[in-house]
Assembly symmetry: C2
Homo-oligomer: 184 residues x 2
DNA sequence: CGACTTTTTGAGTATACACTCCATTTTGGA
DNA sequence: TCCAAAATGGAGTGTATACTCAAAAAGTCG
């Protein structure tokens, strides 16, 4: 299935449309009709590229889950502030993906493969936060570091949800306050 | 439209079924067919009692939004620990309603009447938390109290989401840790 | 150009959904 | 016991959805 250029452009038009629709109205808004209309494409073209609607949505959701993580190459060297700043930047600058990230986390059925993937990434992020905390001596035992990291990430996720429901909420300020509370 | 006993029982069977389905699989799982099957009722009976499926769901969602608040009569006297304990109890003991609460918060379209209702309640809860913090001198200005309350509630909501995705997560322990961090 | 492959089109299919209709049964007060 | 109001069963309606297919168009490369 060597591809022509036009097909590759169509693929990215479809993915972009899907991303927008997911960000705007969640899974319900991302109907095949809506995706195709926004991408300027017919249903047949969609299915020439993707085997199913779900496949396209998974791809966008996967992108979002990846994007929430800061540069993996830096893992093990960054400060807690760096990690939180990366999360803030993700939410503020890539707000579409951030909304997708939060939408899929809750909307998809439990015990789903997406949920498992989501949790796997979450656990990895918790460990990264916990290690930064240990490095900065904010905490004495590894167990306490994990707990503290879960609470901080919980706060960041909760504040991000708050921001998704009400865009006038100052996410950056509250996220910074949350991390400052860990520092004592 | 004076009601007969049997109709009132049918109504509560339908509401119970709706509550369960919403808790288990969110809005998507609460189809008319699923609700009627679980309630042991036919579609015609459903529409004899509720004008629409949405109406029944709204009623359950409203219940959940109410239930997250601790006793309003105590407002202005309870400690921060009381407030957090009430939230923990809600999540742990009324887990079905708690899941509904979190599901509807995210699933419903933005700018929806449910979203507004949800936000109104949230703001009121933030104020209640902030006042408790002021009373306990955890904070000096009202502005800081509001910020701190937003962060604490964000953490509680975020941890509750974490628990919804993974029931083996120890919500109580992490929630307690979150509030203990405010105390310094 | 000409042969071949990929892409696009757009009408068409099957299905699941919320909701309706109304004949029939059940209820509960007089 | 009677009867009007309320509740029920269950087939039926319209609509939106994901997805298919065969023919036509457009891209690629010698």
């Amino acid at each position: 299935m060597a591809r022509y250029q036009v097909g590759i452009r169509t693929e990215s038009k479809i993915l972009e449309a899907t991303r927008q629709l997911l960000a705007e109205g969640g899974l319900d808004a991302a109907t095949l009709k809506a995706i195709c209309e926004r991408a300027g494409v017919q249903a047949g073209s969609f299915y020439n590229i993707f085997p199913s609607k779900e496949q396209a949505i998974m791809q966008v959701a996967g992108e979002a889950i990846q994007a929430v993580d800061p540069d993996p190459d830096l893992s093990g060297t960054e400060s807690l502030n760096d990690l939180v700043d990366a999360y803030i930047r993700f939410v503020v600058e890539q707000s579409d993906l951030a909304r997708v990230y939060l939408q899929v986390a809750v909307t998809v059925g439990n015990d789903d493969s997406v949920t498992r993937r989501f949790l796997r990434h979450h656990v990895r992020r918790v460990e990264r936060f916990a290690q930064a905390m240990l490095r900065e001596s904010l905490v004495s035992t590894e167990g306490e570091a994990i707990t503290k990291a879960e609470v901080l990430l919980g706060a960041l996720d909760g504040l991000a949800f708050r921001w998704v429901l009400d865009r006038s909420f100052d996410f950056r300020k509250h996220a910074r306050y949350a991390v400052s509370q860990c520092g004592r």
